[in-house]
Each structure stands twice: as C-alpha cells, then as structure tokens.
C-alpha cells in the first residue's frame, strides 16, 4: 500500500520548508529511519527520515519551498501504481488593498465633520447658499479639516450640536482659542441688539437663524479671517447706460429686458478673463485661477442673501446674461435654486445701488479671492480735460484677499473694469 511522504511540521510555528535535495532516487529501496531528503527550515538544514519501508516510487516535489502537509513523495511496493490528488490551489490574496488606519481616520474625520449633512440635489422648500466646495479627494481630508478645524472641547461640541449652534459663530475663550462649554452657553444668546423693528412693549423678538443665515454666518465668519484690502474707482457710466439702451432695442417682445447691471456683468467677465489672478479661488493654501468667468450675482431674498452664478459670463451676450439673470433671480426669490445654480462661481458682483447706496465694501465670498461692490449710478460732477461736467457715475469697490492678490493685480483689474465700463465696446 503506497504511503505518501508529506512535509512534516518540525517545530511550533513552522508552516513551510524548502527541500534542498533528495538523498534517495526514484526506484531506490528505503528503510524506515533512512535519511530521505534535506530540508531547509527557518532555523536549520536537516535530514528528514523515511517513515516507512519500501521503494521510493515517486518524487513529487524535487526541490523548492513547500507547505507543511504537502505530499512530496510516495513510498510503496515495487511496481505499485501511484495516483495522487491534485495539489490544492493556494488561497488567493485579497485584491482590494485595505484602508490604512490613517486613511480610515481621515475618512471618519470628513464624515464626522460635516456640520450639515450633504444635501441631495433637489431642494424643495428654500434656496440654500452653497455650503462648501465639492469634497476634497479622500486622501487629503484630514489635513484640510485640521487646517480649517475649530478648536472646541468635546463638551462644547456636544452642547453646540444639541442646540444647533454653529461653532464657527463663536469665539473661544479657552487656551489657544479653544471653544469651551461656557462659550457655547454664552453664544446661544444673541450678542447684538435686537433688529430695527420696535418689538411690542415688553417683548423681544428673537430671530432664530434659519439654515441660510447659519450658513452665511459661518462662511462669512470664515471670510472675515482673510486679510483683505479694498480698492475703489469711480467710473463714468454714460457709455454703459448707452450700451444697455442699444441692447434693449434689439430685444423681442416678451423677452427679458437687459439692465445696466447685465452689461456690467458682461464687461466685468471680460475683465476677469484678462486678469485671471482676480478670477480665482484660495483653497487649502493654493491659488486656483480659472479660465472661465462664472460671475455670481448677489440676490436678496426673503430668506436671506443668495448668490446664483451666471456661468461663462464672458462668452454670453448681454441678452443671454439678462436671460440667465432673470431666471436665476426669480427662482431665487421663489426658493427654487438648484445646487448647480450656486456652484463654481469665480467672482461675485454685489449691487446695492437700488437702495441709493453710493459706495460700500462687500465681504469676500470664499473661496473667491475678490468681490465687487457697486453703488448707485447718479449724476455727479466730473472734471474732464480740465472742464467741469456732469455725468452719471458709478463707484465700485473691489475687496481683495491679500493671500491671493497683490495691490497691483487688483488695481490692474479694476482699471480694466473702469475702462470697459467707460467703453463697453472694448469688452464686447
């Protein structure tokens, strides 16, 4: 009866060994106890003895590394038939690499850090300002989070979470600016005086932040941290107004009527593609300059300020811009903006001219590196070639993020804007 010679387990922990050479050949007689082959284990090379008498009918593995228990030979009676089970296939290595602990921690950090859940694209009731940039690739998030991370004690975080208070709206009084519980408790009460409407006698109207305002609060608080400077120019708006009138004449019945602002949007977009330093984002310590000008228009809605974006404003005609603008504004006022309406803006124009504001400074709309605040067009006196004249003028203030833009870059852009405002044909 043939006996299979299997690689023995010669020590605790031994799982495989390497056959160096056989000391008997096929067809040779062996006696139990005879050295049969040399085996190299981790520790030593040794002779392995035959465990049966007979003829070495077959050498199955002549050399090389073999797992314990594998059949390496067969001993039996002379002339016996030998048939062996095919060797078992080795179990395959798992194909997908496992997450490293660091990656897992990063992933959890991103998932845990979302202070508001990721929104589905359909928003039913109210328009929402864009909450954050499309999420950074999985490998990077921990670093990103750490850099933008709010220092707050676990207790402070819990209280804030339970009460729906945005940590970003709080100032921390703990060491290193850490927000502690007391800060949250204090922060839950409003720190500014009540709004302008006189409350009923003896009553204080508390306006709770809705989600738009919370988001505005959070994002603009972030913006407040950027080192900014402002540049102001006053431009003669006569040609801007004239251009608008010309465009109006070309518009068909029922179409959207372009406004001066639509023309302004178009010329600003043209200036942006010439001065891409201003058409940029500051993200994670990087300046990202964009080639397309997606201009956001600040729109006041009953629920708060939203900034829908006119995409590729530099490649649209004034009429196309007007049409896009009208659609966005009406949807904004109805609370029907989609996420794609709010994404990807590279620059923002904010106009308070309709309120008679002559000039103001707008707060950056992060991660955009600049924002243009436009005041009312009003007749003012100008000095032209030494002569005093009256012309409709408009004052514009550019707020710039100094981390991304220097004074000269901002100034060059603003000079171009003024030039385009005063001669729109240059831009169209």
């Amino acid at each position: 009866m043939a006996v299979e010679v299997k690689l023995p387990r010669l020590g605790q922990g031994m799982e495989a060994g390497t056959i160096v050479r056989w000391l008997k050949s096929e067809g040779e007689n062996v006696v139990k106890g005879d050295p049969l082959y040399e085996l190299d284990t981790d520790k030593v090379t040794q002779e392995v003895e035959a465990e049966a008498d007979g003829v070495l009918l077959k050498i199955v593995v002549s050399d090389g590394e073999v797992d314990v228990g594998t059949t390496v030979g067969v001993i039996g009676a002379e002339g016996e038939e030998v048939s062996l089970e095919p060797p078992e296939p080795q179990p395959a290595e798992p194909s997908e690499p496992k997450e490293t602990p660091a990656e897992e921690a990063a992933r959890r950090a991103v998932e845990g850090e979302r202070e508001e859940p990721a929104e589905p694209s359909d928003r039913s009731s109210q328009g929402r300002a864009v909450e954050r940039e499309p999420s950074a690739p999985r490998g990077a998030p921990a670093a990103a989070e750490a850099r933008g991370r709010m220092k707050a004690s676990p207790l402070a975080r819990r209280i804030a979470r339970e009460r729906g208070i945005e940590l970003a709206s709080l100032r921390g009084t703990g060491p290193d600016g850490r927000i502690v519980a007391e800060d949250v408790e204090r922060g839950a009460a409003p720190s500014r005086p009540a709004p302008a409407e006189a409350p009923a006698v003896g009553e204080v109207e508390v306006v709770e932040l809705n989600s738009i305002r919370r988001t505005i609060a959070r994002r603009l608080t972030e913006a407040w941290e950027a080192p900014v400077f402002q540049l102001t120019v006053t431009a003669d708006a006569s040609e801007l107004v004239a251009t608008r009138e010309q465009t109006l004449a070309l518009v068909a019945e029922g179409d959207v009527k372009p406004t001066v602002n639509d023309v302004l949007t178009r010329v600003v977009a043209a200036a942006l593609v010439q001065h891409r330093a201003v058409n940029a984002h500051f993200v994670e310590g990087q300046i990202r300059r964009h080639s397309a000008a997606h201009v956001g228009i600040a729109v006041a809605t009953p629920n708060g300020l939203v900034v829908p974006v006119i995409r590729d404003a530099d490649r649209k005609t004034v009429r196309e811009i007007a049409s896009a603008r009208a659609d966005l504004v009406s949807r904004a006022r109805e609370g029907k903006l989609q996420l794609q309406d709010l994404e990807d803006g590279t620059f923002t124009i904010s106009n308070l001219g309709m309120y008679g504001i002559e000039q103001f400074v707008a707060v950056l709309n992060p991660p955009q590196v600049a924002i243009l605040a436009v005041g009312a067009i009003a007749d003012r006196s100008l000095v032209v070639d030494g002569e005093l004249e009256v012309a409709p003028t408009m004052t514009m203030t550019l707020t710039c993020d100094h981390r991304a833009i220097d004074g000269s870059e901002g100034a060059e852009f603003l000079r171009t804007v003024k030039a385009f405002v005063e001669a729109p044909a240059l831009a169209l």
């Binding site: 004690s153 676990p154 207790l155 402070a156 703990g174 519980a181």
Partner: protein, 326 residues
Amino acid sequence: MPEVTYREAVRDALTHALRTDERVFLMGEDIGEMGGSMGVTQGLLDEFGPKRIRNTPISEMAIVGTGIGSAMQGMRPVVEIMYEDFLTLSMEQLVNQAAKHRTMSGGQVSVPLTIRTQGGAGWSPGAQHAQQLEAWFVHVPGLKVVFASTPADVRGLLWASIQDENPVLFFEHRTLYPIKGEVPDELEPIPLGRARIHREGEDVTVVATGRLVHEALEAAEAAEQEGISVEVVDPRTLQPLDEETILESVRKTTRCVTAHEAVTRGGFGAELAAVVQHGAFDWLDAPIERVGAKFGPLPFAPALEQWVVPHAADVLDAVRRTVARA
C-alpha cells in the same frame, strides 16, 4: 471613633486576621523580633509565635513562591516585601506563576496570597528604595492591586485582601505610616473595587492614589480660595477599578486631573486618562491633566528629590490648567 496611625491600622488588620483564621501566617524579612523595617509587625511575634510570624532569608523569589504554594494548599499567607523595589526580585513567581495558575489549570486551583509592600520617596531613600510600581501589576491579568491612603481604608482593605481568593498586591506608602485617621471601632471590611470620594466638588475631579490623595486634598483647599471647586476621588483598588464612580464624577465636573507619586509616563494615571476619555468623552471641557513624578530615577539630595516628586502645588497647577482661559 478611635484615631490610629496608618501603621497601626495595618497591624490591626493583620492581628485580626491572625487571631480569627488559623490559616493566616506571615512571611517576610525582619518581620519577627525587629517587627519589620517599617515597624508594622511589632508585637506579632510575641502573640503568634515563630511558626506564624516567619522571618525569612533574603530570598524574594522563594518567599513569594512559598507563599504561592502554601496558598494553593489552602493556607492564607501574607508575605511582606520590605521595599516595593524588591518586588522586581520576585517578578517571575508573581507574574508567571501566581497570576496564571488558576487560568492555566482551567480553574482547578486558586492562589489566595496577599503580598504587602511599601514604597515611595521621602527622607532621601535613594533611587532603589523609593519606587512606585503599582502600574506594572495592574497590567497583569490574574493579579489584584490595592493602594489605600488612609488608616480606615488600609485596615478595611487589607482585611478584605487577605480574604480574597486571588493574589493581591497590597501597596502601602512609607510616608503615610505615621499619619493619623479615624477608624471605626470594629474592623469594617471594605470590598475591593470601590472608590471613595474624599471631597465633593463641582468644577474638576482629581483622581488620586496613595500619598497624592493627601496632596490633592491640600490642593483642593487652596483651589477653593481661588473659586475652583475640586472633587477628590481615591480609587483605592486599582485592579479591579471602580470606573463608574470616577466617570460619574467627571461627567458632573467636566474636568479631570489624575495624580500619583509614580512617574507620569506609563503610570496608572495613563490608564485612568484613557478610561475617562473613553467613558466621558462628550463631557470633557478640557484635556485630562496627569500629575506624577518627573521621568528619572529618584536622586538622593533632598532638593533634587523635592523637585522630582509631585506635591500639592503640582496638583493645584493641574487643576488651574483645566479651568484656564486664554
């Protein structure tokens, strides 16, 4: 209630055990006529004789092993290791044998052995006579570890340790021997695994062991003057640990300081901090502070020893850090 010293309280527990249970006997170096190098066993030889109060040669391995073997046969030996530094000489028997017999035998044997020892800095004993090694033994499954800080606690806990069916490392502190405290008229056993709240407070929990319990209480008094209300908790048994009492306290105060005389790095405070971080994470309003000796062998000169070892001022500083503002 009578007032006795910590030393007397230990002796009292031993006396009670020897009187009421003939299985109990003591082994140790110089515990006979001399009454022990710390004077704890004074008078016991006279009352109980040399068969039950056994002076031994300097053979920590054999003494502890003999304790193990006789405990396995149903005796209740209480072995004294003169300085806890010398536990190192008996580690093999403590760790490989005493802690593991019950598991390795599949529950056939138990080792009701008590090892009493003492340590700590004070009066310049030098680096090899002053260590605090209790954390090592908490890390060995199968051993129990007790560290009492007051006369009442040490008496009740030593009695309970001798009754315990498991090997117990019973740590005493050399500078606590002379302190006085009230004890109940009758010996009251204190179950292992129960912490004690020495002082209630609202603002920060100090979890302290051994000599640092007293330093913490002193610091708490000072903190009170500064308007900080400190709660002082003594776990008393390090293994098994009364996690619930500690966590409840931290959930109340939202801040935690651990304090022991042992070196901070890898000390029992590290385990406490991990337990508290995990069980009271959402209640923590500040990082957990650890007070312990600085990381070095204890130097000899008094000024150096003073500096290395923690005191009430260090506990107070830690308390202040937990409530600090920028």
